[in-house]
């Protein structure tokens, strides 16, 4: 049997099926709050603060209302938060306390089935948030071009990337305290990744640093699509997330194998 055969049984859907059954009883409050959070930000900052600001110039050089500037960024952030929550806290609990993966890997499932299944679940939550937020954006007239439709697959890719990396990192953590580091990284990344103002406010070295962070690529990708200002640079953003997905899957699979099958 090939090496992949012991890592992957082409049965990730059974992990998704399990997650769908389990989520019936899961905390609806968590899901609903994740949906409304970006909408509150949009109303308070986009329209409240935005009424003082007027228009902002995007990376592509277009002048857009402030709300239309930050809405795509908040969309990317919502995808990130949804994916991260499912792939870190939930996964950590399943590894350490529920011993869920131990049970799964005593069957014919391989670690890649588990990783893909869990990431798909994380991604579907992120996707759900995204669809809801896109509808709100449309209703408020913040989708400025037809390319906004492409923001949906873009957001799924962003969620996939964060879920894969999130699960990989979580599989290496040992204590709940270490989990706090994830929030410690996420919050500043949300605030400073050219989400709420253009990156040009920073001196050049800081700009480079921000441009190395994953969220910046997500924000720019989605913003380009919803404002209709396209550029070849968007391919780089996509590539960035593809690499995140691959790296995340490789490390997660490897780590689950070490934890439960060696």
């Amino acid at each position: 049997m090939s090496a992949l055969g012991s890592l992957y049984a082409r049965n990730a859907r059974s992990v998704v099926y399990r997650g769908a059954l389990a989520s019936k009883s899961s905390n609806a409050v968590v899901i609903i709050s994740g949906f409304f959070e970006p909408i509150f930000y949009l109303l308070a900052l986009g329209f409240g603060l935005g009424s003082l600001i007027g228009t902002v110039q995007t990376q592509g050089g277009a002048e857009v209302p402030y709300a239309a500037f930050i809405a795509p960024a908040l969309l990317a952030v919502a995808a990130m938060n949804g994916a991260i929550f499912d792939s870190t806290w939930n996964v950590f609990f399943k590894i350490k306390y529920a011993k869920l993966y131990e049970g799964m890997l005593a069957t014919t499932l391989g670690p890649l089935d588990v990783a893909l299944g869990e990431i798909t679940l994380a991604l579907s939550r992120g996707g759900l948030y995204a669809i809801g937020f896109m509808i709100v954006m449309q209703a408020l007239g913040l989708n400025l071009a037809w390319t906004a439709l492409l923001a949906l697959p873009a957001v799924l890719l962003i969620a996939f990337g964060f879920a894969a990396i999130g699960m990989a990192i979580t599989s290496y953590l040992n204590t709940f305290q270490q989990m706090d580091w994830i929030n410690f990284v996420l919050l500043p990344m949300f605030l400073f990744s050219a989400t709420l103002y253009p990156i040009t406010v920073y001196p050049e070295p800081v700009q480079w640093f921000v441009q190395a962070l994953p969220l910046w690529h997500g924000v720019e990708l989605v913003r380009g699509l919803t404002t209709g200002v396209l550029s070849p640079l968007m391919l780089v953003h996509v590539l960035y997330y593809v690499v995140m997905v691959v790296v995340g899957l490789v490390f997660t699979t490897r780590r689950l194998r070490v934890l439960f099958l060696s």
């Binding site: 012991s6 049965n11 059954l21």
Partner: protein, 308 residues
């Protein structure tokens, strides 16, 4: 003799410096009920994980159903049922859902899994709890559900790691009854335990392990015959008088074992040993003549009791 379904030769597992399992060799034949007996830390669970193809051996040979678990992990796991030491039921799912989902992990079609789930709930005497939450079940029910779950892929071999540890006597008897039925149906059982009565109830053959090595092997009856006398006389003198009494008891029975709380005299005839004790004028607080058990075998082999 049929071909063995499990064959281990010089099986060894080390974690850095620590030797968990040291050169174990044994075979299990189809339909047999085989026990690994030993105290906590004897290497039983580590061995079970290797048999379950979820832990790679450090060295030695291992064949499960004729396959090497290093190369055929998923294939072997598809034909095993595993009941781990600690319950790892899915507490986010209901009782019946646990069986449905586990069957799906094996890639068994939905309709087939649904039918088996209902049969297994009957078997595990949980049919009326199908929609209950896992956390609402008692310890004994959880174990029965774990066993039902392990049977969802119709395994050739069922691996049970300390199946009744932590259960009350009644729950243990219910569980033994269920396992005995499986054995009657021809399922090969491999179980670990540190309970002597459990081993005597369930095992056709067993190995006694301690500190990763096999000390003895055979059927419960033959082990008792080989390593113990037919009967045992237990005498209690109070902890401070134990040592003095042993000197006075010298020569009675085949062998004398001094424990912190009592003295054991191994003899073919316990009653006549007791008569000899009173003839010598030795007064004990309590005395008891009983049949020899696997516990005595273990004591003889290791110099200590199993559950310490």
């Amino acid at each position: 003799m049929p071909a063995p379904v499990i064959s281990a030769r010089n099986l060894r597992k080390t974690y850095k410096e620590f030797v968990a399992v040291d050169e174990l060799s044994f075979e299990v034949t189809a339909g047999e009920s085989f026990g690994l007996l030993g105290p906590n830390g004897a290497g039983k669970s580590t061995t079970m994980r290797m048999l379950g193809a979820v832990s790679e051996r450090t060295s030695g040979d291992l064949q499960i159903l004729g396959l090497d678990p290093n190369d055929h992990g998923p294939e072997i796991r598809s034909r095993l049922g595993v009941v781990p030491q600690a319950d790892n039921l899915d507490s986010e799912l209901r009782v019946r859902e646990n069986l449905l989902v586990y069957g799906r992990y094996f890639g068994i079609p939905r309709a087939v899994v649904a039918r088996r789930a209902d049969e297994l709930l009957e078997f595990a005497q949980l049919a009326d709890r199908a929609k209950a939450r896992v956390d609402e079940l008692s310890g004994g029910m959880k174990r029965r559900l774990t066993i039902a779950r392990a049977l969802v892929n119709e395994p050739r071999i069922l691996l049970l790691d300390e199946p009744t540890t932590g259960l009350d006597p009644q729950a243990r008897h219910v569980l033994w009854d269920r396992l005995f039925r499986l054995k009657e149906q021809g399922t090969t059982l491999v179980l670990t335990t540190h309970y002597m009565d459990e081993a005597e109830q369930l095992c056709d053959r067993l190995v006694v392990v301690d500190k990763g090595v096999i000390l003895a092997e055979g059927s419960p009856a033959s082990l008792i015959r080989e390593y113990s006398s037919r009967e045992v006389l237990e005498l209690r003198f109070g902890s401070d008088r134990n040592a003095d009494a042993v000197t006075a008891l010298a020569g009675i029975g085949d062998r004398i074992e001094t424990l912190p709380d009592r003295v054991l005299i191994f003899a073919a005839d316990g009653e006549s040993a007791l008569e000899e004790v009173s003839r010598r004028g030795i007064e004990s607080i309590t005395s008891l003549v009983r049949r020899s058990s696997l516990e005595d075998v273990f004591l003889r082999l290791t110099g200590r009791t199993l559950v310490e």
